[in-house]
């Protein structure tokens, strides 16, 4: 290869390393698929709860532990049960009932005249809606009511208290992802600033700063969290800020190592020889070259935080009812694995697939940003 002075067509815009990395990432099918999947999970978790017809807090007493189903509740065989239940509350007897399409007609009788307001008992049931009195016997002892059957879908089934698992899973996704990002960002910010400072300063400052990290490392994590719970109460935002403040240790070490090696690079020496000050070197040379590993580590940190949150919630230290997270749902599901396995399966699927996707993206980023064949 001879060194002919660059013959470049006019107005050529070079492809930066970031551009290169992006192109390589795009070629990585698993990573791209994971990226799209993560985006999907994110959108579904953030906007999903508004579109699911059930609130994540609503309790459907009639539908406790319903298995997931694509058809609407109540099922045909449940109508009678629900009807008898509701009529029993009215303290009257069923004379007869029939179903016509989406409507039920029920005739009740009693020894005393039946108050019209009794229909609210039927409305109160989760299965019926829109109850009307069709006819009344002249003595008031017999009333025929009609009610429409309330069609409710529980695609993921319901939990032990009769709450819709779909809306709860999506809501949990919001919380888990938010926690992951929040604590991840906190950890990255502290870690990068601390690590870069230590690595850049070098020498004794570096020694002292890293020994502090070592000391913090040696604190048993779970005691630390319990202590934080004691201090902050159960405010989960504060708490996960605090968790992030614990997780920065790894980040700090990674960044410090990188900063140390970047400082020894010839382009930094060249900048020094040119008289560029510390600030310029840090801003123009050290930090841009640190970003690669930081981005990679961040994608691996987020799943770590999500798992940590799950673990804490599993222990009962994390998110509190009625708020929920994937960890909480899984913990509940694990207790009901024999009788209601969907309580475990759906949240676990969401958590596991998200973690998988995050790891794939992290791997893809690492390959893209740091190709050994360069």
């Amino acid at each position: 290869m001879t060194d002919i002075a660059a013959t470049v067509a006019p107005t050529v815009i070079g492809r930066s390393l970031w551009g290169d990395a992006w192109a390589r990432l795009k070629a990585n099918r698993a990573a791209m698929f994971s990226l799209y999947y993560l985006a999907l999970i994110g959108v579904v978790s953030v906007f999903g709860p508004w579109f699911v017809p059930h609130q994540y807090t609503t309790i459907y007493a009639d539908y406790v532990r319903m298995p997931p189903s694509l058809s609407a509740y109540p099922k045909a065989d449940m109508i009678e049960t629900a009807l008898t239940e509701a009529i029993k509350r009215m303290r009257v007897d069923i004379k007869e009932w029939r179903q016509e399409g989406n409507q039920v007609f029920v005739t009740v009788k009693s020894t005393r005249p039946i108050d019209d307001r009794n229909i609210r008992y039927l409305d109160r049931s989760d299965a019926f809606d829109d109850t009307k009195i069709e006819s009344k016997s002249p003595d008031g002892l017999e009333v025929t009511m009609s009610a429409s059957i309330k069609q409710q879908y529980f695609l993921f089934g319901t939990d032990n208290t009769g709450r819709d698992l779909l809306s709860r899973t999506l809501m949990a996704g919001r919380i888990s992802l938010a926690i992951g990002l929040l604590a991840g960002v906190v950890a990255v910010v502290i870690g990068v600033v601390y690590g870069a400072a230590a690595g850049f300063a070098g020498g004794k400052v570096d020694e002292v700063m890293m020994r502090i990290v070592d000391v913090l490392y040696s604190l048993p994590f779970i005691f630390f969290v319990i202590m934080l719970v004691v201090f902050f109460g159960r405010n989960f935002v504060l708490m996960f800020l605090a968790v992030g403040a614990v997780l920065w240790l790894d980040m700090a070490r990674i960044v410090r190592g990188q900063a140390l090696s970047i400082r020894r690079q010839e382009y930094v020496q060249a900048a020094e020889a040119m008289g560029v000050g510390q600030r310029g070197i840090l801003l123009r040379h050290v930090i841009p070259n640190l970003l690669g590993p930081v981005v990679i580590y961040m994608t691996l940190l987020v799943p770590q935080v999500i798992i940590l949150e799950s673990f804490l919630s599993f222990l009962g230290l994390g998110v509190q009812e009625p708020m929920t997270s994937w960890g909480v749902l899984i913990s509940v599901g694990a207790k009901n694995i024999g009788t209601a396995n969907w309580l475990l399966l759906f949240p676990a699927f969401f958590l596991v697939s998200t973690l998988f996707a995050l790891n794939f993206v992290g791997d893809g980023l690492r390959d893209a940003l740091d190709p050994r064949d360069r």
């Binding site: 382009y267 020496q269 040119m274 123009r284």
Partner: protein
């Protein structure tokens, strides 16, 4: 040579790499054959596909590469062999030595272990026999005191010794063919010559064929029977070594032969002002000991060196790796703490701190050896070049800076459009031009050139040397030219300092040093360089 039977024949070999920008063909259908007992040199500059050819033959291509065609070793096509069959050939019948002996040896095992293990495995000897065999090999490659060396670890040996060990390992199974991929490039000149002589001697003794891959056409002259010259994945010329040297046919071969930098530099007038002066400069590093670890261990990298650089003068600092020449260059620029007196112009800068040095920095620039490491990978070329202006001429607008970048790039012979691109998009020579442009944009008076041509191909070296000379003439620059390559120093410098272990062993005007070296060390250096590049020894 009693070369008769063709043992390795490469036919229509193509090597393709899949990359993001589509497939790149690194080797484009070449034919090479090797007869038993002969030495074949494959010569080409970086990117010519010479290494990939041999990598393909050994099935060592990177994962995105694929090879088509055929590589026949004694009638078997290596490209189609299964891995286990291939391993019967690879490492036994065909073995390889690489450029960098440090990374090719496992740092955790002693030399002895690394030699004994494969001998036992391949030949089924017991430990004592294998040990005997290993000692024999070490003696064969002239490792002094082999019994003791068996217990050494790679880091305890010098580069040349490590390369000898590599050769010993490659010879352990009595190969038919030894592929040597740039075996001397990472070594000092004096060592280079020794390794080449060793290879020639081993071939005479053992009679294997050697395939010698190198970028330096000069060094194969006394060594190879036949030469293939490769360029951009094709063989442009092949033939008997002597014929190629005496009567090269292809323009590229001629260019390679003439690639040695020529010319010389006239010294500046004796009354030219002194720009940089160092008196009794001393640099010491602490290499161990200290706090809780006993006496501090000090290494004196630069030991009482005095130097006077006039305006428009080039002082060549010559020495092998570890001689302290780079350290001296950095100390004179006050990039390393040092003792002794350093004057720049009429100022004493021996005690100047960072702040005090900053305004002077624009007048003294540094160009590094490695054009890949010295340009920040995340900045565009324009940003790289103009960074110094941000410090020294902060009043310039973005537009003016851009204008200066265009001028600087033109000056070093690059298309100004290059400023929008990133360093990794350029070849080694172009990057070195960028690094020079970065130094020149500040209009310095002194440039320390730390092996600026060592990482480059010969033909590119020549261009860079010419560029540097032109810039010097245009701007009355003073150079401190640090190099281990005597031919480049000869073309660049008018005064030479020879360093060894931190001390000056000899200094004087270039022609005097070259024609009449006084010190024994200088004589070895010269002899080695001349051995390697010029003459055919009576082999």
């Amino acid at each position: 040579m009693a070369a008769s039977e063709t043992i390795l024949s490469v036919k229509d070999l193509r090597v393709r790499f899949r990359t993001l920008d589509g497939a790149v063909e690194a080797v484009k259908g070449i034919n090479i054959h090797v007869k038993s007992g002969e030495t074949v040199a494959v010569v080409g500059e970086s990117g010519s596909g010479k290494s990939q050819t041999m990598m393909a033959a050994m099935s060592l291509l990177a994962s995105n590469g694929e090879a088509t065609g055929s590589v026949d070793y004694r009638g078997r096509n290596l490209l189609t062999l299964s891995k286990s069959e291939l391993n019967k050939v690879r490492g036994r019948k065909i073995s390889m030595i690489f450029q960098e002996p440090m990374t090719s040896l496992d740092p955790l095992y002693s030399i002895g272990n690394q030699l004994i293990e494969p001998i036992r495995r391949h030949r089924g000897l017991n430990v004592a026999e294998a040990r005997e065999e290993a000692l024999k090999l070490l003696r064969l490659v002239h490792i002094p005191d082999p019994e003791r060396r068996m217990k050494s670890y790679p880091h305890e040996m010098s580069g040349g010794q490590r390369q000898r060990v590599m050769i010993a390992m490659a010879l352990a199974n009595d190969p038919d063919i030894l592929i040597a991929d740039e075996p001397t490039t990472a070594l000092d000149v004096t060592i280079q010559a020794q390794i080449l002589m060793l290879l020639a001697e081993l071939q005479r003794k053992l009679g294997m064929a050697i395939v010698f891959i190198t970028h330096d056409l000069g060094i194969v002259r006394r060594f190879a029977d036949r030469v293939y010259v490769m360029r951009q994945g094709e063989v442009v010329e092949e033939g008997e070594a002597e014929a190629i040297f005496v009567n090269p046919q292809h323009a590229y071969t001629k260019m390679l032969l003439a690639a040695e930098p020529t010319g010389s530099k006239a010294p500046p007038p004796a009354n030219a002002p002194v720009l940089l002066e160092g008196r009794n400069v001393e640099v010491t590093f602490r290499i161990g000991g200290g706090f809780l670890a006993g006496e501090p261990l000090m290494l004196r990298a630069v030991d009482h060196i005095s130097i006077r650089l006039q305006r428009n003068q080039t002082i060549g600092i010559v020495g092998e790796s570890g001689s302290g020449k780079s350290t001296l260059g950095r100390a004179l620029l006050r990039l390393l703490p040092s003792d002794g007196l350093i004057r720049f112009g009429d100022r004493d800068i021996s005690q100047a701190d960072r702040q005090a040095m900053r305004p002077l920095r624009r007048q003294m620039q540094l160009v590094f050896q490695d054009p890949f490491g010295s340009l920040s990978p995340r900045m565009t070329v324009g940003q790289v070049i103009t960074e110094g202006l941000l410090v020294h001429e902060p009043d310039l607008s973005g537009k003016q800076r851009d204008q200066r970048a265009v001028e600087a790039l033109r000056e070093v012979g690059l298309d100004p459009n290059a400023r929008n691109r990133y360093p990794h998009e350029f070849s080694g020579g172009q990057r070195q031009r960028i690094a020079i442009a970065r130094a020149m944009i500040l209009k310095p008076r002194l440039v320390v050139l730390d092996e600026p041509t060592s990482a480059l191909d010969r033909s590119v070296q020549k261009q860079i040397v010419e560029l540097l000379r032109k810039l010097q003439a245009d701007h009355e620059l003073s150079y401190l030219f640090i190099s281990h390559d005597l031919s480049v120093v000869r073309a660049m410098a008018d005064y030479i300092i020879v360093m060894k272990q931190g001390k000056i062993v000899e200094e004087g005007p270039t022609e005097a040093i070259f024609s009449n070296p006084q010190h024994a060390y200088t004589q070895t250096l010269m002899a080695a360089a001349i051995d390697v590049t010029r003459f055919r020894l009576s082999a």
